[in-house]
Symmetry: C2
Subunit: 441 residues, 2 copies
């Protein structure tokens, strides 16, 4: 695999949001020069036809009053978007609808925020419905001042808001078995992103006083499965938070209302929901969900017990099977775009291949580039109407690089189903139909 | 008014999000030294009592299965949050529920994203319900290639996602008449914030070819009021966008589904919803809503016709009448926090006064500090149990500073109801009750 082209575009950091423009992008992109843009149009303009005039002039727009402003005190999506929902698949469930996962429709998401109604959900005993007035959080064990907090008391601590993704470690778990689903939603939909608000555990513990021998924390949920996970004190004191806010409103029930743990960048199941208890100890607990599950089976037959950060990863979201190029024709310009993320740090580079990994070009990073957060990438081509095999490969600022399927198998075997982050992609046929393909060397 | 204290904290830029911590904040804050924090606790810890043990041990948590994961394919808030909704007030309506405004519950919002269901709504003829299959956008006038676009065609243009607030210019319009409402929602709730996705008009126009004599654009909606506004070409080419995405999903109907104009930082009504037509011309239109309304009446009796950018502004959101300090007692530490914003640029500084404007201290800017976006500020005090008059004053990077009520009246008179951005605030009584007060010099 050889890099044939690398343009000089830097990622759009916040400071330069106002300075950079898509116009610059067009001018600087390797494939498209300014003259090419002038010659080619993104879309051929449509001449006004009788049919269009008919629509513009004769739809009922503006002929009657719209809905009252207070029809929905809490608003709902357009009725025309009834298909933009989370979906459950029997092949990904545990045989019921309580200990299973609903997948987020990533193909309609843009930017780095998932609306709360579409945030993927992984439960182990159903969505608990907790009365916030009865909520109590007990913090005990190796702390100087053990405490039981009400929700109001917890929310009195100084808060922070941060944008982070949460991803189930089983996301993309078919990454070495060959394509299983032919849509983006089931291929990568076990993740979502939100702006979370809460208190850093380091702030709480500065108040409560952590004893020096405390090395581990057990965080326990109040759901039916009593989901509990062990976390090392380094992560707790680094950036772990107890969050009560999600995209500007109270946490949703499926996300642990009224309070969940947030461990930025680490396995989804560690972000314990409906938290009721945190205990500090000098050794780990080896709780149910970190022995029977969420361990990393090795070729040797032994499993790694604790395996926390989500690996550097990426996926092209446009095109995808749900967003094909069937309306495009030869010569049309089209944006290839997607999401990159890493639980270890900040996305540094995303490369794109149009030919199944033979050649790679560097994509533009679009918008905000934040640590342990979705980062959007983009690359614009003029489609020649021929079949393409589109792949993306992300690199983060810790030096981790997304591996090929074969490289990953070479490194960790085929036994484990978690933390599979190989390069996967889409085949676009000459008709513009998009299919899930796995590229093997 | 003299500044008595200014700490050296810099705003939390994105690059340093991981580096800064609340621990540092405690150490550096002028009012709170590290030793003060060690001595005082944010909250007095609660000893476990029989009652608490009763709650922890005997609530029904974990005793029954929760809801199925697919109960809500599109999720809804917790039933316990039924009061967290947009609200309409007769005093702010036009006598009906079609040409009026619903106010966002800012007191429960944290961070810089408003969930789509709570985004404030200002309609002029009701919420239009547009079939996306019938959507057509006509772009004509002084362009080389006039065009009629379908929604699919528009969405083929390279997109961007940006976080911006939208604010009605009448927000806080009672800022010189004395307190009218005793809650944050009606005092400042005519604004919200979202991550918007769409195409920059400069990109579209690079494709369509703007004629050199084009100086103005008319952007027209397909709602019952046929809301249309004139915009100068400089803004159109700077950062105006046609957006179809809002916080990761298609635009909500109340926000102009399927396509609205976004003119970052400028008057809410300029962000035309349900867009059907953009026409370019060499002169402005003087449309209905820029002559009968949305003009700035001067003391002379004449009105300024075009008056676009929203001024630098700020409001304390905690405490506020809906979030009082009635549960606090003397000696408790408490965070004073709020939102600052400017339609002209980026927030540079926010000052806080605890004594009605006699003395000011510099607040910390929390989280992302983005141009033409909400910016969160914070200041922590130990409450002495005495009455406070809390004010906030924002300064942006263009040098604009939020004026006092009297200064604003001196500058622009009392005739106009738009763009009133004076310093307003809250009185906290010794019992912790919070009331809206206007401080006059």
């Amino acid at each position: 695999m050889t890099k044939i082209s690398k343009n000089s575009k830097k990622s759009l950091k916040v400071d330069s949001v106002e300075k950079s423009s898509r116009r610059d992008f067009f001018k600087k992109t390797a494939i498209y020069s300014a003259s090419a843009l002038t010659a080619a149009t993104v879309l051929a303009p449509i001449k006004l036809k009788a049919d269009d005039e008919n629509i513009v002039n004769h739809v009922d727009w503006g002929t009657k009053l719209g809905d009252k402003v207070d029809k929905y005190p809490y608003g709902v999506p357009s009725a025309y978007e009834h298909n933009n929902v989370r979906r459950v698949h029997d092949l990904l469930s545990s045989g019921d609808r309580y200990a299973t996962v609903s997948m987020s429709p990533l193909h309609q998401q843009e930017g780095i925020i998932t609306p709360n109604g579409l945030f993927f959900t992984r439960n182990h005993g159903g969505t608990a419905q907790i009365d916030p007035n009865k909520f109590r959080l007990m913090i005990h064990g190796l702390v100087k001042k053990p405490i039981v907090l009400t929700l109001e008391q917890l929310k009195r601590y100084p808060s922070e808001s941060r944008i982070h993704f949460i991803e189930c470690p089983a996301n993309g778990s078919t990454g070495w078995r060959g394509p299983q689903f032919n849509n983006l939603q089931f291929v990568k939909g076990m993740m979502s992103s939100a702006e979370w608000t809460g208190v850093k555990l380091s702030v709480l513990l500065e108040d409560l006083g952590l004893k020096p021998e405390a090395q581990w924390a057990l965080v326990e949920g109040s759901d039916n499965s009593e989901m509990g996970r062990t976390l090392p004190i380094e992560k707790i004191l680094d950036d772990a938070m107890l969050v009560w806010g999600q995209n500007g409103e109270p946490l949703r029930p499926e996300q642990g209302y009224p309070v969940r743990l947030l461990v930025p960048g680490w396995e989804g199941n560690l972000n314990v929901k409906w938290v009721k208890r945190i205990e500090f100890s000098d050794k780990p607990w080896h709780a149910k969900e970190e022995t029977s599950k969420y361990t990393m089976l090795q070729p040797s037959g032994k499993a790694i017990n604790f395996f926390w950060p989500m690996e550097v990863n990426s996926i092209i979201t446009s095109p995808c099977p749900e967003v094909p190029w069937t309306d495009l024709k030869k010569g049309d310009m089209v944006e290839i775009s997607g999401i990159a993320w890493s639980g270890r740090g900040t996305i540094k580079t995303v490369d794109i291949s149009l030919d199944g990994g033979k050649n790679w070009v560097e994509a533009e990073l679009k918008g905000l580039v934040l640590p342990k957060s979705w980062t959007r990438f983009s690359y614009i081509i003029k489609w020649d109407g021929k079949k393409k095999v589109l792949l993306s490969r992300a690199i983060d600022d810790t030096g981790h690089i997304q591996p090929s399927i074969d490289k990953l198998i070479e490194n960790v075997g085929v036994e484990g189903i978690y933390h599979r982050n190989p390069i996967v992609g889409w085949e676009v046929t000459s008709k513009g139909v998009v299919n899930n393909v796995h590229v093997r060397s």
